[in-house]
């Protein structure tokens, strides 16, 4: 395997959790709900996945547990902000703190244990093809799932009636209510989907990226995913591009540090954030595109006057 292939493999590994979490949050925000608890749901997913895989010796059950943990936290969020109309920003921040604290508590007994790793899906013969073989084949299921989910979400949002309803609820919840669309039910679905994908992103971290449990192992990826959603102007294809750009610059920075490039390591660590923000700011300068894609009722609680 050449150096380029090795580099690309690490980029894919770095981008996958960002993509999963961003696509989930994208659906949540398209419905008009801002869930700032991505980091917390991701951490909960990571610890639940790792612990379950340890206890059952099945990484697949671990993946399911990660997904369920993300959904469970997002359900708490949904009840607070949708049913009780609590402030979305404050509740989301609290959710992150809850997720981080809870995962530290529950994961205390698992720190440093060698973990189960998700199996790679090798295809006999094809995986050995030069260049395309290692790039296209031989990843674990969550990598493929991240691409499949991105395409599925794009198709759902823009080519199905249910997706149109979800976007309508996000654009103008009063009009949607007046048309008889179930605003609250749609938002519950969107928040739970976002939680499930944040949980999956966490499971990927603790079962594939670094198959072990370390406290705070999400290391801010949930926040990056949140920023990606906004700068991607709520479009799945751009979220994918943003996640891979971020992953690529991040890995480049690591290599540069290893090679002893004469730049301060702090700058190299900051580079992926800077590059991603600059690139996404540049593409989101098209105001027409931004405005026609922005969920206009994002973050506003909906209380029908019944």
């Amino acid at each position: 395997m050449g150096a380029f292939e090795a580099f690309m493999l690490t980029v894919i590994a770095a981008a996958t959790p960002l993509l999963l979490a961003a696509v989930g949050e994208l659906v949540t925000e398209r419905s008009g709900v801002l869930n700032l608890g991505v980091e917390g749901m991701m951490t909960a997913g990571a610890v639940a996945a790792f612990a379950t895989a340890q206890l059952t010796a099945s990484p697949w059950l671990g993946v399911l547990a990660g997904l369920a943990a993300g959904m469970a936290l997002s359900l708490v969020f949904a009840v607070l902000v949708l049913t009780l109309a609590a402030n979305q920003v404050a509740t989301g921040l609290a959710l992150t703190l809850l997720g981080l604290g809870l995962s530290g508590l529950l994961g205390a007994g698992f720190v440093g244990l060698p973990g189960e790793r998700l199996p790679k899906l090798e295809v006999a013969g094809l995986s050995d093809l030069p260049l395309v073989g290692p790039l296209l084949f031989g990843h674990d299921a969550l990598v493929y799932a991240s691409f499949a989910l991105t395409i599925a979400v794009w198709w759902f949002l823009f080519h199905t009636r249910a997706g149109l309803v979800l976007r309508a609820v996000g654009v103008n919840h009063d009009a949607a209510h007046a048309q008889g669309l179930p605003v609250i039910a749609v938002r519950y679905g969107a928040v739970l989907f976002g939680g499930a994908l944040a949980g999956l992103a966490g499971a990927y971290l603790s079962l594939s990226y670094t198959p072990q449990w370390i406290e705070n192992m999400t290391a801010g990826r949930g926040w990056i995913a949140l920023a990606l959603v906004v700068f991607a102007t709520w479009r799945p294809g751009r979220a994918l591009a943003g996640a891979y750009l971020f992953g690529a610059v991040w890995i480049l920075g690591l290599h540069a540090q290893a090679l002893g490039v004469g730049l301060p390591s702090q700058l190299l660590s900051a580079l992926p954030y800077l590059v991603t923000i600059i690139a996404l700011v540049v593409i989101s300068r098209n105001r027409t595109l931004t405005l026609t894609n922005t969920p206009a009722s994002l973050g506003q609680p909906f209380v029908p006057d019944r």
């Binding site: 009636r161 149109l164 309803v165 976007r167 309508a168 654009v171 103008n172 009063d174 009009a175 949607a176 209510h177 007046a178 048309q179 008889g180 669309l181 105001r287 027409t288 405005l291 026609t292 894609n293 206009a296 006057d305 019944r306």
Partner: protein, 518 residues
């Protein structure tokens, strides 16, 4: 759209009995009853806050009543959502459009009816042709004019083939000619045996269009009349409970004063994808006169107001002069210092900060120009409260105290306050956008009288309004804004509603707009 076996002509198609609904301490509807016959166009008439919208939102299933029953064709109608109401045969066209701007016409309609947008396109074309409401199903709603948006609402309603159609203040956004077209459509629909409930506060329309009228005041039915046998004055008396004083204007001075507000060739690009660009707007308002700018909503009124008030600066010197000072590149405080006052369209959120006290809101327009209130950056709250109290007293702002938040006032009272706040400075130039929007008739008459009085006292008054009745009551000269261009102003004696209406639809010579030649 055959309706099948039609019931006897004596059975009301829609019957509402004893509907009551409270919001907190406010009784929005108090035992309201009305019945609508098939083929009837039935007006529900009342001032803002009389309970009209609450009543029809109950019929349409958006709000639940606390008490009362509704029956359709003699059978009880119990709906808990608009979707159920539509299935039962009740359709509604909303006052504030319930459309999704980033979506196409067909997608908007598909959201209400079910089914995929592509499959609906042909039905949309058929219905819109049949009723004279031309529409392109693939157009983005954000790109449509207000009149076209209303067509989307009506076509969306008609595609469900409703027996009862409710329209909430449908003409408030239309030119007189567009309104005539709408009336023709409504008469066709009534001729098919449908019942139409028509909510309005415009007396002229009720007498022209409607066969019956139920008049609401403070949530109660105060009269059920045949509008054809009433006069506008008698309808107004029912609606308000008192006579409305007519605006009395002394004739304008023989020799008008110097232009106090002078705008020459104001051109500004649109400030966003849904904004309107201004093209070569020129106008002069002399001391002593009221210049009114008519136009359909969304033709650049908001942009013109923002350019005049200094919220957005002009792009060159010499474009805007107030009292002889070139303020083209100066902000709102410099323009206030030059003697101008500004009252924007939205009361809450633009003219006033909702959760700030009235005294605080007074300071927001005075902090830079009134040395008595703010000296060396220190606020005198005592004087601010005194001033606020003076405005409250002189302008009859009810239920107000200087320390109450602006949001606690009703719309009409807050409008009186923000108008009073501007008038209290005795400005040399007053620019006001929609001075009586959503204000009850008595308060509106008082506000109009003050605008005329201010002008006769020597000020230049520029009124931007969508209400032609208002414009013809108070204006000395009228100009029309259409797609960002302003027509030349004409004296009110030399024009009439029809000519202004044509100009509102864009029928004046354009010099600047794209496609209009050099």
């Amino acid at each position: 759209m055959e309706q099948g076996q039609s019931p006897s002509a004596e059975t009301p198609l829609l019957q509402v009995r004893g509907i009551t609904r409270r919001f907190g301490e406010v009784v929005a509807n108090d035992a309201v009853s009305l019945s609508v016959m098939p083929g009837q166009i039935h007006a529900v008439l009342g001032e803002n806050g009389a309970g009209k919208s609450t009543l029809v939102r109950i019929i349409y299933g958006v709000i639940r009543p606390d008490a009362g029953t509704i029956s359709l064709n003699g059978r009880p109608l119990r709906v808990t959502s608009p979707a159920e109401a539509r299935r039962a045969g009740v359709g509604m066209v909303f006052q504030h459009f319930s459309l999704f701007e980033p979506f196409t016409v067909a997608q908007n309609i598909a959201l209400a009816l079910g089914g995929k947008a592509a499959a609906l396109a042909d039905r949309i074309r058929d219905v819109s042709r049949a009723y004279g409401l031309p529409l392109d199903p693939d157009a983005l709603v954000a790109d449509l004019s207000v009149g076209e948006r209303q067509r989307v609402e009506i076509v969306r309603c008609l595609l469900a083939d409703p027996r009862v159609i409710i329209l909430d203040e449908p003409t408030s956004v239309l030119t007189p000619q567009e309104a005539e077209g709408l009336f023709a459509t409504l008469r066709t629909l009534a001729g098919e045996g449908r019942a139409i409930i028509y909510i309005t506060h415009r007396l002229r329309e009720v007498r022209e269009l409607c066969d019956a009228a139920t008049i609401l005041r403070h949530g109660r039915v105060v009269a059920s009349v045949d509008p054809k046998t009433e006069t506008a004055a008698s309808l107004a008396r029912h609606m308000v409970g008192a006579d409305i004083p007519a605006v009395r204007a002394a004739p304008p001075a023989e020799r008008p004063g110097a232009p106090l507000l002078h705008v020459r060739d104001l051109t500004l690009p649109a400030d966003g994808p849904f904004g309107v660009a201004l093209y070569g707007v020129s106008l002069d308002v002399r001391g002593g006169e009221v210049l009114a700018i008519a136009g359909v909503a969304g033709n650049g009124q908001r942009e013109l107001f923002r350019a005049l008030s200094g919220e957005r600066l002009a792009q060159a010197r010499g474009v805007i002069c107030i009292g002889g000072h070139d303020v083209s590149l100066a902000g709102i405080n410099a323009r206030r210092a030059a003697g101008a006052a500004f009252v924007p369209e939205e009361r809450l959120g633009h003219a006033a900060v909702p959760h700030m006290s009235l005294a605080g809101n007074l300071l927001l327009t005075r902090h830079a120009v009134d040395r008595d209130l703010v000296r060396r950056g220190v606020i005198s709250w005592r004087r601010a409260r005194q001033r606020t109290q003076r405005i409250i007293d002189e302008h009859d702002v009810r239920a107000a105290r200087p320390d109450r938040p602006a949001a606690a006032l009703s719309g009409g009272n807050l409008q009186k306050f923000v108008m009073g706040r501007a008038l209290d400075r005795h400005p040399k130039v007053l620019v006001v956008n929609q001075p009586t929007w959503g204000v009850d008739a008595a308060a509106a008459a008082a506000i109009r009288q003050r605008l005329v009085d201010l002008a006769r006292a020597g000020a230049a008054v520029l009124v931007i309004s969508q209400d032609l009745d208002e414009i013809f009551q108070i204006a000395d000269r009228i100009a029309v804004i259409s797609r960002g261009e302003l027509s030349p102003a004409v004296a009110v004696e030399e024009t009439d509603r029809e000519r202004i209406g044509l100009a509102m639809a864009g029928g004046f010579e354009r010099r600047h707009a794209p496609g209009a030649g050099a």
